[in-house]
Point group: C2
Chain length 133, copies 2
């Protein structure tokens, strides 16, 4: 169960709004990004939140991976997104694939501000960084 959990909290995303609103479009992009990173989807679930007084509802996209999971939450009214990429390194080191998947998703959302963390799970080591891109 030793593994790497990457998080990124994105603000001021400059992407087309459809990536924040359309679960089908987002899900398709996530599946492609997972595959291109060399990881494997085993199941998935999406949820679109209803319109509120703040504007159109966001999307949650979760893809279960053979290697653990990818979770995406969007907040269109803030043009904000949170990303979780967690890979267990049981049977091989998938850390580079996790980084590649995270980079692909950051490229999709094009945030102006990103806060990233990397948590080594199953071992007491944390590194974190914040970047303004």
């Amino acid at each position: 169960m030793q593994g790497l959990h990457l998080t990124a909290d994105l603000r001021d995303c400059r992407c087309d709004s459809a990536w924040l609103l359309n679960a089908s479009q987002l899900g398709s992009a996530c599946r492609s990004a997972v595959r291109e990173a060399g990881l494997q989807v085993v199941n998935e679930v999406f949820h679109t939140f209803p319109h509120s007084v703040h504007g159109p509802g966001g999307v949650t996209a979760t893809l279960l991976l053979a290697e653990s999971h990818l979770c995406v939450h969007t907040w269109p009214e803030q043009r904000a997104v949170t990303l979780d990429v967690y890979v267990c390194n049981f049977g091989g080191d998938h850390s580079a694939k996790a980084q590649a998947l995270m980079d692909a998703l950051l490229g999709l959302f094009m945030p102006q501000h990103t806060e990233r963390h990397a948590l080594q799970r199953g071992a007491l080591a944390i590194s974190s960084s914040a970047a303004h891109e």
Copy 2:
């Protein structure tokens, strides 16, 4: 999108093996724990991994919450579990509910060793602790 992400990596779980193997039973317990913590399930997905040379396959249980998500991965051959409870505090502070949910799940799996982290998302603050219980 400011929120609290709790992780726990559990080893040597003393629970009945069914909690590590049976997606239906685990899912039902997760739904109850979410509800009792005062959080709200909006969708869910489960996956049972196939038998391998290491023994019976584990389970991934993901519950999408109105407040963000709960992810559980089990490794029965190691009697290990990873837990993620992430709540966004948009519209109210759900931190105490997240802690209650995490505590309920720890009570279910009864690990001998637990490594926990709390990540304040949307702000640069991390606290972590390891406990042998």
